[in-house]
């Protein structure tokens, strides 16, 4: 009932050597991981199967909705003509840069706001404002300011990330226990030291939650940037296919986008484990 909370795995009472316990646990972990993977693939297979079946039976018009086999066909084609790797590379680079830039700016500002309740109160409505601007609406300005090259996609990607990163980092920073701040004070910590030695590590969990969340935003931002103006990239490919009403190709582009997102979020997960060794993961 509470398997995940009890710290020891249930074992029967016969005494066993440690080595065998270790082996069993490693095997259990592996089995657990395989079960998860199996379920994921199963789920995916069922979804795709239903979709394919529905379109092949004309229950869904394949023209309107595409079908997995057509999507696969486009993926193969995109792979063969090299556009898949090229477009994914372009968009991936824009995303990565926007992700890094947005998170660095947002997190740093969000954490820094911890320094002053007053400034954070003053700034609060401006942050809400920034977070609610439909940047797509400002496409004309984005193009004028940032041009039609990498800069405009970077700007879009960064903008999509920065507010989330800021708000989450700020929430993490202000969530630090007052008593722990008091402890730092009794140790003679300057405010700057409270910040570096307490606020930053204590906010890491929140910051990583923000990082995981913003992977998708950075990607969407980059793609929106490509919608505004572009010569290549996944957004360009998707938008073009969409305008020509080639739905399976739209989906093929979306599939590549998702794979990109999964890859980036995998990287963030690795980073988290590396930076927070004291934290329990499973």
């Amino acid at each position: 009932m509470f398997e995940e909370a009890s710290s020891a795995a249930p074992l029967d009472s016969s005494s066993r050597t440690l080595a065998s316990v270790k082996r069993r646990r490693a095997w259990k972990r592996l089995r657990g991981r395989l079960a998860v993977l199996a379920c994921q693939f199963g789920l995916l297979a069922v979804l795709l199967g239903l979709w394919q079946y529905a379109t092949s039976k004309q229950a869904l018009n394949a023209f309107l909705f595409g079908s997995p086999s057509e999507i696969w066909g486009f993926l193969v084609k995109m792979q063969e003509d090299g556009s898949l790797v090229h477009d994914a590379g372009v968009t991936g680079m824009e995303t990565l840069l926007g992700f890094l830039l947005g998170n660095v700016i947002g997190t740093v500002l969000g954490l820094l706001l911890w320094y002053s309740r007053f400034v954070s109160k003053v700034v609060h409505p401006f942050v809400v404002a920034l977070g609610s601007i439909p940047v797509v609406a400002l496409a004309p300005l984005v193009i004028i300011w940032f041009g039609t090259g990498l800069a405009s996609k970077l700007a879009m990607s960064t903008l999509s990330v920065v507010v989330v990163a800021l708000v989450i980092a700020y929430k993490g920073a202000t969530g630090v226990d007052d008593d722990q701040i008091n402890l730092m004070r009794t140790l003679g910590a300057a405010k700057r030291q409270v910040f570096t030695k307490l606020v930053i590590p204590a906010s890491l969990r929140d910051i990583f939650a923000g990082l995981k969340l913003t992977v998708g935003f950075a990607l969407i931002g980059a793609i929106l940037g490509e919608f505004m103006s572009s010569a290549d990239g996944l957004g360009h490919a998707i938008f073009k296919a969409g305008s020509l009403y080639i739905i399976p190709k739209v989906f093929a582009g979306v599939v590549v986008t998702i794979v990109l997102a999964l890859f980036l979020s995998f990287l963030v997960g690795r980073l988290e484990r590396f930076l927070m060794p004291w934290h329990k993961f499973d």
Partner: protein, 274 residues
């Protein structure tokens, strides 16, 4: 590990009915990698109905771990914990466990923290609040019922936790240093109250304490544990004359001082080599 290695065998036959809670050769090792650290070596004992048993032992020897095992919160690496003769798999109904950390919920007032256990049984609001009020009053916190935990002192928090544990009227009560943050007087009053409650209703208490005088004055038995990996070093049956629920009188009973000295000497200090 063969039973013969245990220096003291348990009082009472493990698993015999009448003993609600029994440890049968339990052991616990943390970590399953190369740095496995055994914390509980091999421990067997029973807690009988109407009995108060104290566990004393050096800091870090595994008392809290032992209580976690006895409560069913954590499974032993070896051996079994028996609840009325059957192996435990989860926390059984009828057990009340006061953890070492008070774990009050910051979003509940003192009163609401105390009612928590009753709420879980589905008791109507008016009834459970009446009970909780009475219990808060007993632990001396009547006027503080609407305080949130952040506005309570350490000792007050501990008393709220105690009230939360007792208010549901569990048959077996496990207490992890319940009076550690209390002044002598408050402690003595609460000890006496609890002794009365337990002995009159045939409940049982298993209690961790660092205060040997407390252990001796309150308990029927004191179990002394060794350093980790802990085993039972000694078991003392306390047979003092006088009103066993008057804690002050107990301290003056003949034989009290000698017993306390004896137990102190058994808890020999081995600092810096723990």
């Amino acid at each position: 590990m063969p039973e013969s290695e245990t220096p003291y065998s348990a009082t009472g036959t493990p698993g015999k009915s009448g003993a609600p809670l029994t440890a049968r050769n339990i052991g616990k090792t943390y970590g399953d990698d190369d740095d496995a650290s055994p914390v509980i070596g091999d421990i067997s004992f029973s807690l009988k109905a109407g009995e108060i048993v104290s566990l004393v032992g050096p800091s870090g020897c595994g008392k809290t771990t032992l209580l976690n095992l006895m409560s069913g919160l954590v499974r032993p690496t070896r051996g079994d914990v028996l609840w009325h003769g059957k192996p435990l798999t989860d926390v059984p109904k009828g057990i009340g466990y006061m953890l070492q950390k008070d774990m009050l919920m910051s979003w509940r007032t003192a009163l609401a923290n105390v009612t928590l256990g009753l709420e879980l049984t589905g008791m109507p609001r008016a009834e459970r609040e009446k009970k909780a009020h009475a219990m808060l009053y007993k632990v001396g916190l009547g006027p503080f019922h609407d305080y949130y935990p952040t506005a309570l002192s350490g000792g007050m928090r501990q008393r709220v936790a105690l009230a939360r544990t007792l208010v549901t009227g569990p048959d077996v009560i496990l207490l992890d240093e319940p009076f550690a943050a209390l002044d002598f007087q408050t402690k003595v009053v609460l000890e006496s109250d609890m002794a009365k409650l337990v002995r009159s209703d045939g409940r049982s208490v298993l209690l961790i304490t660092h205060d040997v005088e407390e252990a001796v004055s309150l308990s029927d038995r004191v179990i002394v544990l060794t350093h980790r990996p802990s085993r039972i070093k000694a078991i003392h049956d306390i047979r003092l004359q006088g009103d066993r629920s008057d804690m002050m009188a107990m301290r003056d009973a003949p034989g009290f001082a000698a017993l306390v000295r004896k137990i102190w000497s058994e808890l020999d200090v081995r600092m810096a080599e723990t």
